[in-house]
């Protein structure tokens, strides 16, 4: 779940204004408290959750809504939609978000990845019929998957406090502004063509895509909150290192043998 959305009809300008205000507020919070207080040592990219007493109940409350509303709707969506249509909707939004990927690849000094993302947008928006078909991936041009949280990490914000942020889901103070912008990207790019129900479609598609991951969590986790948090930090470290994080061989665990 990577979304903020509104189900009310909103004018484009207010949508834009709201998203940028949101981003600014979170960014201000981010710069204020993303540093770890002196005296505390938290390894870079390790889970850090000083606000667990708030995060845990928020997770519990949103999880109850998710199970009662979002999950059944997402399962219904999967059931109704033929595979090709489901893929098409996901591709359509992913195509718009490649613009965000390109921008952040550039901000991280990865011009080749940025060019790849832009090439994808051009190919998929034209040959791929407005982004419905991911022709670029089939031709071997994969998305960079960069976002603003990764950009901040590359710029030095390696450690960040955990935030459970409905309806975005797991986040950190560093990642939240990027996630909000990422969620708002289709609306910002489509301009006047953006209508309210597109947000709902986007939300359903995103939730449906996340079903395998949350089903795996439900099948395996004894403490779903801690499970989600650890998985989130690990996954973020992996994408920040573009899939090549330093090897964690648990060497210290074998010290006392």
């Amino acid at each position: 779940m990577r979304y903020w959305h509104t189900s009310k009809r909103t004018s484009l300008s207010s949508l834009r204004r709201r998203s940028s205000v949101c981003a600014l507020v979170v960014f201000a919070v981010c710069s204020g408290c993303s540093t770890i207080p002196s005296g505390e040592t938290v390894a870079a990219y390790e889970p850090y959750d000083p606000h667990e007493s708030v995060n845990r109940p928020v997770y519990g409350a949103f999880d109850a809504i998710d199970r009662r509303v979002l999950q059944p709707v997402a399962r219904g969506y999967r059931w109704i939609m033929p595979n090709w249509a489901e893929r098409g909707v996901a591709n359509f939004f992913a195509n718009l978000r490649d613009v965000d990927g390109a921008l952040n690849a550039l901000l991280q000094g990865k011009p080749a990845a940025a060019a790849g993302d832009l090439t994808r947008v051009v190919i998929n928006s034209t040959i791929g019929i407005g982004g419905l078909i991911d022709v670029a991936s089939d031709s071997g041009i994969d998305p960079s998957g960069e976002d603003f949280g990764q950009t901040l990490a590359v710029w030095g914000v390696t450690r960040s406090r955990y935030l459970y942020l409905p309806p975005v889901g797991p986040s950190t103070v560093r990642d939240a502004p990027g996630q909000i912008l990422h969620g708002a990207t289709p609306g910002l790019l489509l301009g006047g063509g953006y209508v309210w129900w597109v947000s709902l479609l986007d939300l359903m598609s995103t939730r449906a895509e996340a079903l395998p991951a949350t089903d795996a969590r439900d099948a395996a986790a004894l403490d779903p909150y801690a499970f989600t948090r650890d998985a989130y930090y690990q996954r973020r470290k992996y994408v920040i290192y573009d899939g090549h994080p330093p090897m964690d061989d648990f060497f210290d665990e074998f010290d006392d043998e």
Partner: protein, 186 residues
């Protein structure tokens, strides 16, 4: 003569490298996916390969952290047994149908604790899921899928239950989890 054959078989198994052991796991997983059988039968088919491949002692020790030192021998053995059955049940649940997936071994590297075998599951859509196996000696103590370490996840998952409810609750939760996996796949 029979003893000789058994011994040579055992020696051959000891000589196997990490890559060969992972290839044996891949073969067992493919067989589990392709077999027209129920979860119970799939689990029974996977059990021997899980038993020889996974280092449940170190998995149990590392995932329970400091609490491990407080457990007596019987508790440790019960936990290791439960974890082994959980790994089998998880594999039997996740690899229950075949849709053209392929397993590829990419490389074998050396870390400070032993070999690391890097593999990918290639789905028929072309999507690739990287899975790395971390060895200590000839056994696997950690599996990292798309950057998410199973051992780290397990440790995070067990930590607060151990701290707040203790050993008995952890074991009960794991047993419950195994039962759920078996029931849900039926």
């Amino acid at each position: 003569m029979l003893l000789g054959l058994l011994l040579s078989g055992a020696l051959a198994a000891d000589d196997e490298g990490a890559t060969a052991r992972i290839e044996a796991l891949h073969k067992a997983l493919l067989a589990a996916m392709q077999c027209e059988c129920d979860t119970q039968a799939r689990a029974e088919g996977l059990q021997p390969v899980v038993q020889t491949l996974f280092d449940v002692n170190n998995i149990a020790r590392i995932s329970t952290g400091r609490a491990w030192r407080e457990f007596d021998e019987a508790q440790r053995a019960d936990l290791e047994g439960a974890l082994e059955r959980l790994i089998v049940a998880t594999y039997a649940d996740r690899f229950d149908s075949f849709a053209g997936q392929r397993f590829e071994v990419l490389s074998e590297e050396t870390s400070r604790t032993g070999a690391v075998v890097r593999t990918e599951i290639v789905r028929s859509s072309g999507e690739r899921v990287p899975i790395d196996y971390y060895f200590r000696g000839d056994k696997v103590f950690n599996v990292v899928a798309s950057g998410v370490s199973d051992l780290s996840l397990r440790r995070a998952d067990y930590s607060s239950i151990l701290k707040e409810q203790g050993y008995g609750a952890l074991l009960a939760h794991i047993e419950e989890n195994i039962a759920e996996l078996a029931a849900q796949a039926e």
